[in-house]
């Protein structure tokens, strides 16, 4: 494979992973922006969506109806979660709220486990394949063929469409405007006559919609689902949100794509040693990659990502966009 093609393929990978992270991070950031609640159960909303979709598809329900059930089911569970667990602790310290969201996550995960037991399914369920998202897209480019899994293309397009819709909602509707006001200052917004409950519920619902789409795409990409599938994505979404300055929606989008790019670079650059054409590259360059950036470094990728998270929290708690946030980390 030629080098530019390799780069292009990796870039598309990066963007499609990035759009998944962005979808998740936006939901987290919206709720955090208004309530200062880090909703750890956000990843479990994604898992719930994947489970509903999987069970509906396995039961033979046609795809459009199954997807509708997935989105509505996730919204319903999110509403219950907000009403029962998060509303009573709105004034509690941030750490107590964070811990509550862990507990909510535990409840969702173990419920998924119980449900799959009732349905006599294993802990790890194969996600039914969806014809639309199967296979790879082949594009002829000069002498080479660019191959991209269809689901990656769909993730990217769907992600961008949803994010554009969201930005229209936030900037062009009254409810969107109230959400931004509430994120600025919840109490002041309340004094201006904004129904804060409505705003908060809306933030959760939008988060649930985006998380359910992300859950579907993630499940298709990985092929299997399990109760703890949301753990790693939600951690990544946190990092994306922190990169963008926690609480900012546009920051979360930027953070999501930055993280996707960063991860792909951390994976792809060590792989260069194997991909560089030996005939035209000087042996020194190849041996540099093989010695100092061996492919085995890739397994430490997540560790690097978390080191970056910690550094960001310390040095730029306002995110790379550099907002001077009043809730800085100190």
């Amino acid at each position: 494979m030629s080098l530019p093609l390799y780069a292009l393929q990796q870039l598309i990978n990066a963007l499609s992973i990035g759009s998944l992270y962005a979808l998740m991070a936006v939901g987290l950031a919206m709720v955090f922006g208004i309530l200062r609640l880090i909703n750890f159960a956000h990843g479990d909303m994604m898992m719930v969506a994947a489970y509903i979709a999987a069970f509906a598809l396995i039961a033979g329900i046609p795809l459009p109806i199954a997807l509708l059930m997935m989105v509505l089911g996730t919204i319903l569970i999110t509403l219950v979660m907000e009403r029962v667990a998060y509303r009573p602790i709105r004034t509690a310290p941030q750490v107590a709220a964070l811990l509550t969201s862990f507990a909510v996550g535990q409840i969702l995960e173990n419920s998924a486990l119980l449900v799959s037991r009732f349905a006599r399914k294993p802990e790890q369920i194969a996600f039914p394949s969806i014809d639309l998202l199967r296979g790879t897209l082949k594009i002829q480019l000069a002498a080479d063929v660019l191959q991209i899994p269809k689901v990656n293309v769909v993730s990217l397009v769907l992600g961008i469409v949803l994010l554009i819709l969201l930005s229209l909602f936030v900037t062009r509707t009254t409810l969107g405007l109230s959400m931004r006001a509430a994120a600025e200052d919840l109490q002041a917004a309340q004094l201006m006559g904004i129904d804060t409950n409505r705003v908060i519920v809306t933030a959760f619902v939008i988060g649930a919609i985006l998380a359910s789409v992300a859950g579907l795409l993630y499940a298709v990409q990985s092929g299997t689902i399990n109760p703890i599938m949301g753990f790693s994505p939600v951690l990544k979404a946190f990092i994306a949100a922190v990169i963008g300055g926690f609480g900012s929606i546009s920051g979360a989008v930027v953070g999501g794509f930055t993280l996707g790019l960063l991860e792909v670079v951390l994976t792809a650059v060590p792989g260069l040693g194997d991909i560089l054409p030996a005939a035209t590259t000087s042996p020194g360059v190849i041996s540099f990659f093989k010695t100092y950036l061996p492919s085995s470094l890739t397994s430490y990728r997540d560790a690097f990502v978390f080191v970056i998270l910690i550094l960001l929290l310390l040095v730029r708690p306002g995110g790379i966009l550099g907002t001077t946030d009043r809730d800085s980390a100190r």
Partner: protein
């Protein structure tokens, strides 16, 4: 008067504990012994976590990472040489040749040494990590320490030469018994108790309640935070060593989010900032989860224990955010006073036992 009652009360509790442990070890019931051993380890974990999270208010989610390091370090030190050559053939020469198995009579001194070395190494790690992370506060420190836990896990999985990666690390000698666990438990409780009622401890609580006010009376907030973090990392690593030499085989998966969350549940239910609560919390949660496990076996509803515990946790946070004890400790003098004067007969209501 109050001091004497407190001392006598403590002595009575210690005596009762001793009688309980002796009768338990004489009874030879493996089932109950394993529950009590696990409970003891949980209590040390919760007491030491409380020192850092409860006393200073810097809420770490990464302590289980210290436990994992303690387990692996001590196990590598105490693994018999033949096993080491077989299972960990790529260890550096000095480690491959180390086997801490010295005995004094029937007392395994080597195990004690391995535990102490693991504890001290981890304390060093905690000082370095803490120097960076203790600058943060609120939810940010929780996220950063969670990041630390993830990093420890990734390193353990990838450091194949030392840890066998994600495969099970096994054939550790079983040294840990009731007496080891409860001896360490007493040391931990004694230390944390002394710290709580020392000027250092009070400055921990002061900067937790109001950072700015504490700074204005001359408390350098970094110092008590770092001290608490390091001491609690030491005892957490000790539990890691005890755990490793009790279970004898384990993998990085044992030290992850589930365990972290159960420890936090025990601490929050007992009360953040209370040593008494850190003892009662684990006892309560152990009773609930052991009885729920029976229910699980009967009904085949696996997972219901976790759901019940999580619901309990949310209820505590909503209705009793301070946990059972809050910051307070059991006060034997007040109990004694209440017992002597009959219930609530004009006596000022003791505010410490609920």
């Amino acid at each position: 008067m109050a001091g004497r009652a407190q001392r006598n009360g403590t002595l009575i509790v210690l005596g009762a504990l001793l009688i309980f442990l002796i009768s338990l070890s004489l009874s030879g019931s493996n089932f109950w012994q394993s529950i009590v051993i696990n409970l003891g380890m949980y209590i040390i974990l919760v007491v030491s976590l409380n020192l850092s999270n409860g006393f200073t208010g810097v809420f770490s989610l990464g302590h289980i990472g210290f436990m994992a390091l303690g387990a692996y370090i001590s196990a590598i030190l105490s693994l018999p040489l033949s096993q080491k050559a077989l299972y960990l053939p790529h260890l550096p020469a000095w480690l491959a040749a180390t086997h801490l198995d010295m005995m004094i009579g029937s007392f395994p001194l080597g195990f004690l040494l391995a535990t102490l070395i693991a504890g001290l190494v981890v304390t060093g790690v905690a000082l370095v990590v803490g120097l960076v992370l203790m600058r943060l506060s609120g939810t940010f420190v929780s996220l950063a320490t969670l990041g630390f836990l993830v990093i420890v896990r990734i390193v353990l999985i990838n450091a194949n030469d030392f840890t066998r990666g994600s495969r099970t690390f096994s054939n550790v000698t079983q040294y840990t018994d009731l007496w080891w666990v409860y001896a360490w438990l007493l040391v931990a409780i004694y230390m944390v108790w002394r710290i709580k009622f020392s000027p250092y401890g009070r400055s921990m609580f002061a900067q937790r309640e109001d950072t700015v006010a504490a700074q204005s009376v001359g408390i350098v907030i970094m110092r008590p935070r770092l001290f608490a973090f390091a001491v609690s990392a030491f005892f957490t690593a000790v539990v890691g060593a005890l755990w490793a030499h009790y279970l004898t085989s384990f993998s990085p998966n044992a030290f992850y989010f589930d365990l972290a969350f159960s420890i936090i549940t025990m601490m929050v239910v007992g009360g953040m900032g209370s040593i008494t609560g850190s003892i009662i919390g684990p006892i309560l949660i152990t009773i609930i989860s052991e009885s729920m496990r029976r229910v699980e076996d009967l009904t085949q509803l696996y997972g219901i224990t976790q759901i019940v515990l999580a619901v309990l946790f949310i209820l505590v946070i909503i209705f009793r955010p301070g946990g059972l004890f809050g910051d307070r400790e059991i006060n034997f003098a007040a109990i004694w006073g209440r017992l002597r004067s009959g219930r609530g007969a004009g006596e000022p209501k003791p505010q410490n036992v609920e």
